[in-house]
Symmetry: C2
Subunit: 193 residues, 2 copies
């Protein structure tokens, strides 16, 4: 069915005239924020980049990405720094402890950003941590201001702060159209965790 005379497939490769590290925010209440950041990490690895993922508020509940990124070898490091979602039903840790963990995560974030060792740093759930006052706006602004020009910085989590959105280059809001859990389907490995 190939059309007569159509040009053969040529694979082009984009190469920006001006390379630039972007600040990307993935927010909203729908499924696919952390997931999207993980996809960026995978894509970055394909370009030979080094990626650091710091998960705020996560660490008490196994997620497939913890083992998934190991398959990417030493191009990616992933740090869990938390003890689950502060304030949700059944979480046994006091807010002071969630905040202490998030404060450690801020220090780790600045250290990794300042190290110059990474082409991409993902701060997973930091928007959420800010909204819950586990980190302060000034701290997130400090992180944004310390981003090296060529490093990509990805911030995920619901309820991104308006000032963070203003300072970012690319912002997506993931809106829930529907979600399996509303049909009483339990979280499924591979998709939900």
């Amino acid at each position: 069915m190939k059309s007569q005379g159509s040009p053969p497939l040529q694979i082009h490769k984009l190469e920006p005239k001006v390379k630039q590290g972007l600040t990307v925010v993935i927010t909203g209440h729908g499924k696919g924020k952390t997931t999207s950041a993980l996809g960026m990490a995978l894509r970055a690895c394909g370009h030979g980049m080094k990626v650091c993922i710091i998960q705020f508020m996560k660490g008490d509940l196994y997620a497939g990405e913890w083992d998934g990124v190991k398959l990417l070898g030493d191009q990616v490091e992933l740090h869990t720094t938390g003890k689950g979602f502060c304030g949700i039903l059944g979480n046994p840790y006091p807010k002071s402890e969630h905040r202490a963990n998030a404060q450690d995560a801020v220090r780790l974030s600045l250290e990794k950003i300042d190290s110059g060792a990474f082409d991409m740093v993902v701060l997973d759930e930091i928007n959420n941590a800010l909204q819950l006052q586990l980190v302060d706006l000034e701290q997130v602004l400090e992180i944004l201001s310390r981003k090296p020009p060529l490093m990509h910085l990805v911030l995920t989590g619901r309820d991104a702060h308006p000032l963070v959105i203003e300072l970012a280059d690319t912002v997506s809001e993931v809106v829930e159209v529907k979600h399996a859990y509303r049909k009483e389907i339990e979280p499924q490995p591979g998709v939900d965790y």
Copy 2:
């Protein structure tokens, strides 16, 4: 700063009582649809799953994920089946050829789904291909109906068909809040491709 008497960190692992393969649709005009599907593939690999990614309408423009998934080894296979976005400026291929490619992709999708070899099949940009009439609604419905109960099926691309949304378990719409290209920033490796 650890609170006195707070419980030590225990890592829990979810295990659904009823395992179920989900149909997930990631649509919308914002950045992070293919990216989200790639993140699901990475996460699935962490669970030891096998993933097949079929990219509709892509194949003429290098994307980092082509090399990124190679790092995941034989748990993932990725097929590009297209020659770029039909109808966009500068694309030299006639619509008949885009449609022929997409029809090949449908056949490949059914073959991979029917093989039973995969825990997750990602049909990247199929929503878009349907909207552009490179595939027919009946074909997408056929694909949905052939999904094995335990296999996850992920369909990405803008303008998902209402009937596809209705049949899916989880649907997210990625809304563009802002995008770097509107500031005349060129697509950057790792983030945009």
